[in-house]
């Protein structure tokens, strides 16, 4: 039975609470086969909690997850999903090769051990004890373990934490090479650059919710939008309805503030069609904007009204 067209991941309305902490609050995520998706958000945004629920390592309080149309456990039993976790998950007293052999042995069908070691770039240290491996080498070992079962979906939780710049670049090159063969990849990260450089699609999470979802360019525009300020006579206020590509419009006592991803269109409209004057275009810092979008102090405009009712 083929599974063409079934989403690799389909998660609906995920909720998870730990005591007082609402780690995930109604998160929806659908990932189509072949996509490379970055799960981007600051520490504590609920990325790991969500990944645990997708993998069936924890059970959502509410909501459902399916992987290739199966339950997480069903997908794992079929060898359709593998994960590279942040820490742990390795036996210190065996060698790199033995670790991959052992992992391969758990599955009905697997790729050759040497192939997984080669793709992960650790064939040269195959006989090294795990406890003698550096953090980066252990991370590559986790990657080799994930590759050996040849899963349709690969999930990586902050995979480059603790790696140096060169190690990071090599690691991503290996992931990219693997994704180009058609594997679906989801990786969690809190680095904007990493998501930008390696993902086709970025899902931005903040406080357990998806706050933005789109291509890297779209997200960057969203995060790096500009602010157009102008003086506008009150008589022209009705013309603001015709403003193109405005994310938000604020008018107060003759002062207009427009937040937009396309400041050129806004300026052109204001100058051509209204009596606006004293125009000023301010570029938001990319990094600052990202922090603003995902940080705790982010504006409530990105929060769904449903959540507010839910909280009350």
């Amino acid at each position: 039975m083929g599974i063409t067209g079934v989403p690799a991941v389909h998660a609906v309305g995920l909720h998870k609470t730990f005591g007082e902490v609402r780690a995930v609050r109604g998160l929806d995520l659908t990932v189509q086969q072949g996509e490379v998706v970055a799960f981007l958000g600051p520490n504590g945004a609920g990325k790991t909690t969500t990944i645990d629920m997708i993998l069936g390592l924890s059970t959502p309080d509410q909501g459902e997850v399916s992987i290739f149309g199966h339950s997480p456990r069903g997908a794992i039993a079929r060898g359709q999903v593998a994960a590279v976790m942040q820490t742990g998950g390795l036996l210190r007293d065996i060698t790199v090769r033995e670790t991959v052999q052992l992992t391969a042995a758990m599955f009905d069908s697997s790729r050759p051990v040497e192939e997984a070691l080669t793709r992960a770039g650790i064939l040269d240290i195959a006989n090294r004890k795990v406890e003698k491996c550096s953090g980066g080498q252990q991370q590559r070992l986790r990657f080799a373990m994930a590759l050996v079962s040849d899963p349709g979906l690969l999930i990586l939780d902050e995979p480059t934490t603790g790696m140096d710049v060169a190690g990071r670049r090599d690691f991503w090159a290996a992931i990219r090479a693997d994704a180009s063969r058609g594997r679906t990849v989801i990786f969690a990260t809190h680095y904007l650059e990493e998501a930008d450089a390696y993902a086709d699609r970025i899902v931005l999470v903040r406080q357990g919710e998806v706050v933005a979802d789109g291509t890297a360019a779209q997200i960057k525009n969203l995060a790096s939008g500009r602010t157009v300020k102008a003086s506008l006579p009150a008589t022209d206020r009705h013309l603001l309805a015709g403003l193109p590509s405005a994310d938000s419009v604020d008018y107060d006592a003759g002062k207009l503030t427009v937040r937009t991803a396309d400041s050129d269109s806004v300026v052109r409209y204001l100058l051509n069609s209204t009596a606006a004057h004293d125009l000023e275009v301010v570029t938001n810092n990319l990094e600052e904007a990202f922090v603003a979008l995902t940080g705790d102090g982010a504006e409530s405009e990105t929060t769904e009204p449903a959540l507010e009712g839910d909280r009350a």
């Binding site: 993998l55 039993a77 998950g89 052999q101 391969a104 042995a105 349709g152």
Partner: protein, 258 residues
Amino acid sequence: MSTATAMQDRKPSAGGINRTFLWIEIKRMLRNRRTVIFTVVMPAIFFFIFGLSNKNQQLPNGHSYGQYILISLTVYAAMTAATGAGSQVAVERAQGWSRQLRLTPLLPGAYIAVKAAAALTLSLVAVIAQFVIGALAGVTMDVQTWVTAGLVAWLGSLVFAALGLFVGYLMPSQNVMQILGPALAILAMLGGLFMPIEIMGETFGAIAKFTPAYGIGQLARSPITGQFDAMWIVNVVIWLAIFVGGAALAFRRDTKRV
């Protein structure tokens, strides 16, 4: 080098026991120096200290002390080996390996079965090592006694494999054997493995009958004592049930929390 298989739906794996897993588990145990010291070297030293000097003495019941102490220390060696092997789950939990295994088709039951099989392998090594040392030191017994005592010590160690799993799932410690080692020595003493129960005095002698090493020790020595009591089997079965039940409960609690 294709990932074509990833694009087709697959059948769920049975998630059962496999040879590679068992083989790597056994290799891991035999490579562990501390395990070998606990299971082979220490019981051998005990034998040389307590057994060798008076191996030709007669017990009050007329049996050779050498035979008595060799069989008793073999039971001790086997139980230490099995407990140590079982308790390794504590180390694997601490290293996140148990969690990693939950990302594979392996079923929890198969994991436990492999752990039990590995524990039995190690306790078999302990039994054989102890018997070889005893034979080299000049202890003689008829074939039937060697075989019966050896089998009882070996299979009886399953009780302690379960104890090891129980404690391994209960405690997060990396050094679970540092607690279990002295505990096992106390259980061995109370079970009459270090000295005959007859010379323990009335109170301790009465307590001894309810401890987990007692039944196995008595059964293992029955070829030389010529005695048999069904209560010894009851002792073994009850302790096995307690430790397996405890291990199952602790395991369930553990997988829920992770």
